[in-house]
Assembly symmetry: C2
Homo-oligomer: 415 residues x 2
DNA sequence: CCGACTTCCTCCATGGCGTGAACTATCCTA
DNA sequence: TAGGATAGTTCACGCCATGGAGGAAGTCGG
């Protein structure tokens, strides 16, 4: 994970520290020997690094492993009290701000119901800042021990210098969330797309754990993915990779809210399901994001007996299967995780059928190496995912206080 | 490019050697200063490394840069005579074997027309081996100075221990090309999918040069891609990523030779174009791979006046645009390169329309950062791409004779 | 032709690093 | 309580990149 391209012996040290630390964080508690094996470091080096890390308070020794005739192995873990992180979920109907320790135990939470439709970006950000101040106060944690804030937002996030959010669904056009928030709270701020943070949470703690090539599919109002490649979130050139919902699955097909035709989301998105059901039953349909979840749940529940409902779901299975097959063909993952509130609702009973539909549409070979599984974390893990952003930064830096030393040149790029 | 995850100071040396060498190879001739800037190394280190590399004969000093009042800068280049590589294109109708020096200058070529349909894998491989022996003999190069053979094959390539080829279009089922060929020629053998080798060639020397996130789209009988991510070929879990031709673009659509329905290839593949034209004109159509290229060229040429032809091409533009848009949404590249023989044929006149169709189907933001350009290398670059495989291996190893030292443990993986 | 100057490159002392081998710590068993 | 086993630490060693000093190789003006 994030091998910090080392060129000097000092970089090497940091790189090794980082490797050891990642291991302990993700699969701790671990013995020194485990670290050596997993991070490919000699016992002497591990001992040396661990001593440093313990001295810095980043990791702590928690108990001993039982021995059978020899000195017992010490168990090492990241020190939960080393620092704290804040994760923010900027949702379309509510803001969720959560403060965690480094063990990802929730220490404080702040929820504010809001309607993004009537909130301009400036107001939204100041609500977020209020939430941040609130969880800090409530948790009683010293502000200087907070490592950073990770903000998950709906919509595309691009980064030239700072993260800028383009939230089509909430009417945000090039909102520089990162710098705006930095002006309100004096903490490191990291911004990323909600699907990507949730995906990272599933990768670290959920159904994508232990996989280096996975795709987390998120179904809800919108339809998105988080692609994990080589153990890291795949971003592409401007960090907007994984936009699956508006890929064309039916040329010239149904109209989509994005203005296009035949987008996947126009067939398997929550709004599409409700609209299609209404169309079949002749019911008058008024889309309201708030009631959508109940409406879709009702359709799924009534499917066994209800002709229209089961027809709608058949269609969802078909299109979703084709869409997942496309992902399998293009990305060749070893696991596809189906999540999002709609994913959970469908997954319970329909996953085998979706899987079968994917098999029918995918190439045999890539499909044979993939497993399709339900997500393990709920929608509330978006904020947790946000909190992973500053943690990833910490771990990749090896939890070293950055030495003040001018970078020689820009980053490493070929031609 | 391939930062060899260093953990010891020796690894560090090799890593830095590798960085310098990659730079010189890809953007040489270069001065020592250039290397320092691009690879982020101090002048002293560059000097040191270069001295080593020159002593090993890997790079050579070629001329001096003009000075204006100071010692002139020496220009460094990879020594073309340091070693030789062989690239093999296992095509469906011919085998092409080419021997290059490290400057990628062609030194010898061997072509053998063959019909894969009537050739079993064992025979095919022995033809390839003959070709390899032939180019070695013809070039007069000492066998021990040959660094390796890179073989580009049609079909999927998976690698557990050794590369195994699954070539649906040529009827190959799990053929262990790597070990078979290794039994016949005493050289390092590397096997990869033809689209990926061509893509790597475009990335190193062609239209994808200088980009870290690109997609090379290959149109011909089949429809495939090579995805470049972070400057390297994206492979996925089992190295079969990028299978674009059989992604569904039209649920329940036209039948495809893969057995599925609505695959992209069934709309924009060469066979589909010819078949569709025949259907519209009522002509009897007999698909023959050999005549296909001419038939499609004729359709394209006659399009301005021919109603049926222009209708067929309109359709191709529409579907291809949607397909490319899907790639842009999912991978967020900064460049899409359109190649393959059909790509060249279409590209000449239709690229603007294809581009426009892609724009119409892609999300605004990712599309705004992408340029769609024609490929610069022809289909014969598949063998050249094969030759890049052993070169990549050489460069990533820093052209160091591998020290015989037991690896401590498996590779670096998280949890 | 010669010195002054400029720029590039190399050499060297220094501080860091990971490593194997020797050594110490800590437990179990008898 | 001694002996054995396993875990962890210390230390000398060899290797590395680096800044600074100094050598190399040109240009330019006289």
């Amino acid at each position: 994970m994030a091998a910090p391209n080392a060129t000097t012996v000092r970089d090497l040290r940091r790189s090794n520290r980082s490797r050891a630390l990642w291991q302990v964080f993700l699969s701790g508690p671990l013995t020194r020997q485990d670290i050596g094996v997993q991070a490919v470091l000699s016992p002497a080096t591990v001992s040396n690094l661990v001593a440093d890390l313990v001295a810095d308070g980043v990791i702590i020794e928690v108990g001993l492993e039982d021995s059978n005739g020899g000195r017992p192995r010490g168990l090492l873990q990241v020190n939960p009290e080393y620092g704290y992180v804040i994760g923010v979920d900027v949702g379309e109907t509510a803001f969720l701000v959560e403060l965690f320790d480094l063990g990802l135990r929730l220490r404080a939470r702040h929820v504010s119901a809001t309607d993004m439709a009537v909130l301009d970006p400036q107001d939204a950000i100041s609500h977020v800042a209020d939430g941040i101040r609130s969880v800090i106060a409530r948790s009683g944690v010293a502000e200087r021990s907070i490592l950073g804030v990770g903000v998950a937002v709906p919509g595309l996030v691009t980064r030239q210098q700072e993260a800028v959010v383009h939230g089509q669904s909430v009417g945000w056009e090039a909102v520089p969330v990162e710098s705006m928030l930095r002006g309100l709270v004096d903490l490191p701020v990291l911004v990323d797309n909600g699907a990507k943070t949730l995906g990272q949470a599933e990768k670290w703690f959920g159904a994508a754990r232990g996989t280096d090539d996975a795709i987390i599919v998120l179904l809800g109002m919108g339809v998105g993915t988080c692609v994990i490649s080589n153990g890291e979130v795949y971003r592409g050139a401007t960090s907007s990779a994984g936009e699956w919902g508006h890929t064309t699955i039916m040329v010239g097909g149904r109209r989509c809210r994005c203005g296009g035709r035949g987008c996947l989301e126009a067939y398997v998105g929550a709004a599409a399901i409700a609209a299609r059901y209404a169309e079949l039953t002749g019911a008058s349909y008024t889309a309201s994001p708030a009631s959508l979840e109940g409406a879709v749940a009702a359709i799924i529940a009534s499917a066994p007996g209800d002709q229209a409902a089961s027809e709608v779901l058949d269609e969802v299975v078909t299109y979703l299967g084709a869409g997942i097959a496309n992902l399998v063909n293009l990305f060749n993952p070893e696991r596809v995780v189906v999540g999002g509130w709609l994913g959970h609702a469908l997954g319970a009973g329909l996953l085998p059928r979706i899987s079968e539909a994917a098999r029918a549409n995918a190439l045999r070979l890539p499909f044979s190496g993939v497993e399709i599984v339900p997500a393990q974390l709920g929608q509330d893990a978006v904020a947790l995912g946000g909190a992973t952003l500053p943690i990833a930064k910490l771990l990749s830096a090896g939890a070293m206080t950055v030495p003040v030393r001018a970078e020689r040149r820009p980053a490493f790029t070929i031609s």
